[in-house]
């Protein structure tokens, strides 16, 4: 009997889901469980990796039960996961040595500040494709090795294993202490800051710089290849793909070729542009990352620009200012006026990220006059997401010769028609939304299905991509550019704020 489904395991920051897709790429069943968020100190965020593995086991069983399927119905399993989060566990017992350090955790900020001044720091972006920042795995791994008694010695003896979340799951899915495969996929490895972005191997300079013993590291493998076969409810099913969540969304949006891009609009937003097999080193504040690699073929690269504050600005408008009752109502309020009335909001709540990287900036509401109503403010809130997208895309255009033909979008904010129209207007390209909203899971499912021949080729997957909605640019060029100039002036006003007045949060605390 031919397998009916592919299974995606989407291990996210707050929850773990298992989803079955059919041959048409349609979602058949989904099971989901949230896990605990541990905040042991301000700025720290940890997960219990064992709890996450138990949740994987539960959601897999549940989703199979929902449709009465068994292992023989599943062609392959693909994993999409929260990126940069790290786990270290014992090879013999499978027990994590301590809780996982999550990507958002800022405990290594001070350590990274020092590292920036250390010899060799200047080579890191060129080797890894990433700016030296506490966001990525290497500083977290260094911290764990330093702060856990005896761990470095155990690492050198090969008693403990390191992995990002997909490594931990693949090792457990393929048998754990009983012969589990200790591997990582190349997209996740590209976020550790330990992999050479050109050779796609662990880099000795980077390992030396961060003081990481190579014995602890998993083997780097393609994103689409069979790492091993499942046990228990997934007995014999190939574990055939793994991708970091944003790369999975790029794959799920079928952005397989150079020049195709997607943006996921959530509380923050992530814009990824496939640059093909050509590596583009950014000189404009973007990250170079691996998009996907089919085993035995050259890797596809991507430029990535993340925007810290998009949907969370709408949340602030709702919860902080109380001007709307629900996120969707911002569109209603914005439509009470025809334009922004000359008002611009730059949400540099924690500094400006890509492409500016100015941590000392703080947000502004610029152009405030007595004419401005809450409707204008609502417009300015939505427009800030459009302009921030434009800034990231302009940086991508400056770094690469690729020109975007259309932007594929997903995420909760795509229900906002006014915003999506504005994004199309300011980027001057069509914005298109696919019918399957679950692009992260779909990407993992597609990758796994493709790896085992459930789907024959990328073109077949493209045919599964259906347009649900489309927004075409309508704004005239002159208006677009004058508005963008105004936005840019507003951005200038945010710079240097904390270096002039001190850190705003300290001022609040000292009161």
């Amino acid at each position: 009997m031919k397998p009916r489904f592919v299974m995606a395991i989407d291990q996210g920051t707050t929850s773990t889901r298992s989803i079955l897709f059919d041959h048409g790429g349609q979602l058949v069943a989904v099971a989901q469980l949230e896990h605990h968020q541990y905040f042991p100190k301000p700025g720290w965020l940890e997960h219990d990796a064992e709890e996450i593995w138990r949740n994987v086991d539960k959601v897999v069983n549940r989703v199979l039960g929902d449709v009465g399927a068994t292992a023989t119905d599943i062609a392959a399993v693909g994993i999409a996961n929260q990126r940069e989060t790290i786990v270290i566990w014992e090879r013999k017992t499978g027990k994590p040595v301590r809780r996982a350090i999550v990507w958002q955790d800022t405990r290594t900020d001070a350590m990274v500040e020092e590292m920036l001044r250390a010899p060799g720091a200047e080579q890191i972006p060129q080797l890894s494709g990433l700016p030296l920042s506490s966001y990525f795995s290497a500083p977290k791994l260094r911290w764990m090795l330093d702060e856990t008694p005896g761990l470095r010695e155990r690492a050198q003896r090969g008693e403990v294993l390191f992995g990002t979340m997909e490594s931990w799951l693949i090792w457990n899915l393929t048998g754990g202490p009983d012969g589990g495969a200790h591997v990582t996929d190349v997209t996740n490895a590209s976020r550790t800051m330990l992999m050479n972005i050109r050779t796609l191997e662990w880099d000795s300079h980077l390992l030396d710089f961060f003081g990481i013993p190579e014995a602890i590291l998993p083997e780097i493998r393609g994103s689409l290849e069979t790492y091993g076969t499942g046990r228990g409810p997934l007995q014999g099913v190939p574990i055939a793909a793994a991708l970091g969540d944003q790369q999975a969304a790029l794959f799920g949006q079928t952005c397989f070729s150079a020049g195709e891009a997607k943006c996921t609009y959530g509380t923050g937003s992530f814009l990824l542009l496939n640059t093909g097999t050509e590596l583009v080193a950014s000189t404009h504040g973007l990250l170079t990352t691996v998009a996907y690699q089919i085993a035995g073929e050259p890797a596809h690269y991507a430029l990535e620009g993340s925007i810290a504050i998009t949907g969370s600005l709408v949340q602030w408008f709702r919860d902080g200012l109380g001007l709307i009752g629900s996120a969707a109502e911002i569109e209603t309020l914005a439509r009470t006026v025809d334009d922004n009335g000359g008002c611009y909001i730059v949400p540099a709540f924690y500094g400006l990220f890509a492409p500016h990287w100015r941590p000392e900036a703080r947000g502004v509401i610029a152009g405030l006059t007595s004419y401005i109503t809450k409707g204008h403010l609502a417009r300015a809130v939505l427009e800030s997401t459009g302009w921030q997208t434009r800034e990231v895309l302009d940086a991508m255009n400056a770094d690469s010769s690729l020109r975007l033909k259309a932007l594929k979008v997903d995420g909760g904010m795509t229900s906002d028609n006014l915003l999506m129209q504005f994004v199309a207007d300011v980027l001057d390209v069509p914005v298109v939304r696919p019918m399957v909203a679950e692009t992260v899971s779909l990407g993992a499912g597609y990758a796994a299905g493709l790896a085992v021949g459930y789907w024959s080729d990328l073109e077949g997957l493209r045919r599964n991509w259906h347009l649900a909605a489309e927004w075409l640019p309508e704004m005239d060029e002159e208006r677009r550019e004058s508005e963008f100039r105004n936005w840019t002036y507003a951005v200038q006003l945010t710079l240097d704020w904390t270096s002039k007045v001190g850190n705003a949060t300290t001022r609040v605390k000292s009161r």
């Binding site: 629900s326 996120a327 969707a328 569109e331 909203a437 347009l467």
Partner: protein, 253 residues
């Protein structure tokens, strides 16, 4: 006063109290003012909060009149809220039926399109979000007319030979729709187009909008003009799913 419902009287009293108060009130201030136990008052306030007639300050926990009261007389539901709530269900409806999907809200006796999902067949299409569909000549419009007592216009616009243009024919059709819980359009707006639609029901059973598919007559209907059972079931299932969504949590970003 035969049939008077005590909890509604109490709710009205609490609303009058809040309206007359100089500022937000504590639960104990409210319960002692209207001479109810704290538990009873709290239950009423929570329900009034759910329907949007009362707000609770997040910091102080005090109660005040809600935005939903001011909005009475405006629309039944925020159209953008309705889109955000329906989106995750409208997509699968389009994918499974292979037809384009619309979500509408009432506007006078007509239906305004607030959400549109393209038919999944790779063809070039245009979404008509913002357009107004005639109430008496479309499946979506007829659902809204059936569940909202607006005066049917004296002159019903003629679109095709199939348009219901007499008040008696339309009244009979609306009665049928109320009874069966769905509506069908058989070339009444455009000769070769059909539609199947069902009501979107919010809190308290109020129909706030409608969702439906539209497409070629021969795809949606059998030769006798009856909706294909599979398509009808998918539309109804989707409408129920959106209805559940409308009666639960508020939208998140």
């Amino acid at each position: 006063m035969p049939g008077s419902i005590q909890s509604i009287e109490r709710a009205a009293a609490i609303l009058r109290l809040l309206a007359a108060a100089p500022g937000p009130l504590r639960l104990t201030e409210i319960s002692s003012s209207v001479q109810l136990s704290r538990g009873t008052a709290h239950g009423i306030l929570r329900t009034l909060n759910d329907v949007g007639f009362v707000d609770q300050d997040r910091v102080t926990g005090k109660y005040l009149l809600g935005a939903g009261l001011a909005a009475l007389g405006g629309g039944l539901v925020d159209p953008n809220e309705l889109r955000a709530r329906s989106m995750n269900w409208a997509d699968p409806l389009a994918a499974r039926t292979g037809e384009a999907v619309r979500v509408v809200v009432p506007e006078g006796g007509d239906a305004r399109v607030v959400h549109y999902v393209f038919r999944p067949d790779h063809s070039a299409q245009k979404a008509d979000v913002g357009a107004v569909l005639p109430g008496h000549a479309t499946a979506l419009g007829k659902v809204l007319l059936a569940f909202h007592p607006v005066a049917v216009q004296d002159v019903l616009t003629f679109y095709t030979a199939r348009t219901l243009i007499t008040r008696s024919a339309l009244t009979a059709e609306l009665t049928r729709i109320r009874r069966q819980g769905w509506a069908v359009e058989r070339g009444e707006h455009q000769m070769d187009m059909a539609g199947i639609a069902a009501p979107l029901t919010g809190l308290g059973g109020l129909v706030v909008g409608a969702i439906g598919i539209h497409g070629a007559v021969d795809r949606l209907l059998d030769p006798a003009g009856v909706p294909r059972p599979r398509l009808l079931a998918l539309v109804q299932e989707c409408a129920r799913a959106v209805g559940r969504e409308l009666t639960t949590l508020r939208t998140q970003v």
